[in-house]
Amino acid sequence: MFNVNNLSVAYGQSEVIHGMNLDVKKNEIVAVLGRNGMGKTTLMKALTGMIPSKTGSVLLGDRELAHLKSYDRVKAGVAFVPQGRMIFSTMTVKENIETGLTTTKTKRIPEMLYTLFPVLKEMKSRRGGNLSGGQQQQLAIARALASQPELLVLDEPTEGIQPSIIRDMARTLKKIRDEIGLSILVSEQVLSFALDIADRILVIEKGEVVHEEVRAQVDEQKIAAYLSV
């Protein structure tokens, strides 16, 4: 459903992602693991159009996204939850979610989002910046889901969030996948979270995929070895 072929991304002269290939099938959750500085965030930003890619193609279904601006990619069906959440802190929770409705025809926030994240309903007139980290993460996910995506891209969603909430989040993400029927691509450093949610795991190192396994046959030790410094 989502195919990335020979994608290269560079900051000026220094190439960070080298001819990467990956794919995400319908209703599949794929986790991209890697240590700091291995190109996870760059990859995610390139896939969502926040930074331009040098070469390669990014296909959603049979639509080429590689040359689209980020807002057109959202319209095509790719939603993004960035690292550090990046909610609009001076806007209320409700307004934050509404920004995600821009590319849709709906004017009202679907009730389903509040059912998934009841806390957002309680806090809907609070400013986003006054929410706790975990609540902001839920807000960022709700905002992304509001655009009715086919593919949800999350960049290190567990960063800076306490362990009990991380488990909740894994459960919620799987629920979203099952209920809405979308595909999820998530980059991670926390192995346990990745093992919890992913159907397939990719390990990237220095901008290349060095290891790939389906969840059922995962060799935990081996992946942990890739992640250890």
């Binding site: 159009g49 980020s70 409705l101």
Partner: protein, 308 residues
């Protein structure tokens, strides 16, 4: 300086100068609103903002002549038509400028400063060529002339009240547009975090163009109001741009209420002091006070409190 006057005279002077300052206040608010919207949205300091205002003033002048010679029967309502045309004329020029110039210079604040400064010179020369170097004035319909006597000495100019009502209407509409409409939400999202706004599906380029056009359009309306306090010349806009920046910075960027409060304070202080002192001395005192307050409160009069 107050000793030459009796206390009733003083009260009257303050009241009269206060009302006289209302038009100045309105011009400040409208100019500052446009400038603040554009600066907040795009980080572009529009040095040509005064020229957009003057475009509105010239449009008002043209329409006043047009109505006077061709449709004298409708002359009493020409001012409303003039304001609307001024809004769209300045807004259209703003959209054109954004498309042709500004959008190529985002993330280069110093370059936009120079470019819009250049633009302001180009516009001034264009006005000089088209309308001539001599200042022009408009004639107001009868119902806007004169004043309402409040007491024996205090009189309120009608055009002042009118412009003030107009300003309030525009300020309230801008408030609703920015804080209650879907479009306003998108604008604020872009202001906060441009790349992220794009990544949630907001067409940032289109939002920029409309915002710039809106800011310039409001400057055009300010130009219409300006024709009531001064005569319009090619470089009249320059005199106001610095004061307008002062209003924006003093009010606290991105705070609508702050902009209005600071425009009110500055215009009233100027207007009142100009009666007792010379114009430039009044300006010096205003500037000193503003600088002093900004040293104590660098974020301006009003600023949002949130944790980040």
């Amino acid at each position: 300086m107050f000793s030459d006057y009796t206390s009733t005279e003083l009260v009257s002077i303050f009241a009269m100068q206060g009302f006289a300052g209302l038009i100045l206040f309105s011009v400040f608010v409208l100019m500052a609103l446009g400038l603040a919207i554009i600066f907040g949205q795009m980080g572009v300091i529009n040095m040509a903002h005064g020229e957009f205002m003057i475009l509105g003033a010239y449009v008002t002048y043209l329409l006043s002549n047009l109505f006077e010679t061709h449709m004298p029967a409708l002359f009493s309502i020409y001012f409303f038509v003039a304001m609307i045309v001024a809004f769209f004329a300045a807004g259209a020029l703003g959209a054109l400028v954004e498309w042709g110039l500004i959008r190529h210079l985002y993330r280069r604040p110093l370059d936009t400063l120079l470019a819009t400064w250049g633009l302001s010179l180009i516009l001034q020369q264009t006005y000089r060529t088209v309308f001539g170097a001599r200042e022009v004035g408009v004639s107001l319909p009868d119902w806007l002339m004169g004043s309402i006597p409040l007491t024996d000495i205090i009189e309120i100019p009608i055009n002042g009240l009118f412009v003030m009502g107009l300003t309030l209407t525009i300020a309230v509409s801008v408030y609703f547009l920015m804080f209650k409409s879907r479009w306003g939400g998108q604008v604020r999202a872009v202001v906060q975090n441009r790349p992220m706004a794009g990544a949630v599906g907001i067409n940032t380029e289109k939002t920029d163009r409309i915002t710039f056009a809106l800011g310039c359009g409001i400057a055009g309306v300010a130009g219409s109001a300006f024709t009531m306090i001064g005569s319009t010349g090619p470089s009249s806009g320059q005199l106001y741009i610095v004061d307008t920046f002062l209003v924006v910075v003093f009010g606290g960027a991105q705070s609508l209420l702050g902009t209005i409060a600071s425009a009110f304070t500055i215009s009233q202080a100027q207007s009142t002091m100009e009666f007792f002192l010379s114009g430039s001395m009044a300006k010096v005192l205003t500037l000193l006070t503003v600088v002093g307050i900004l040293m104590l409160r660098p974020q301006g009069l009003f600023a949002l409190k949130i944790r980040h």
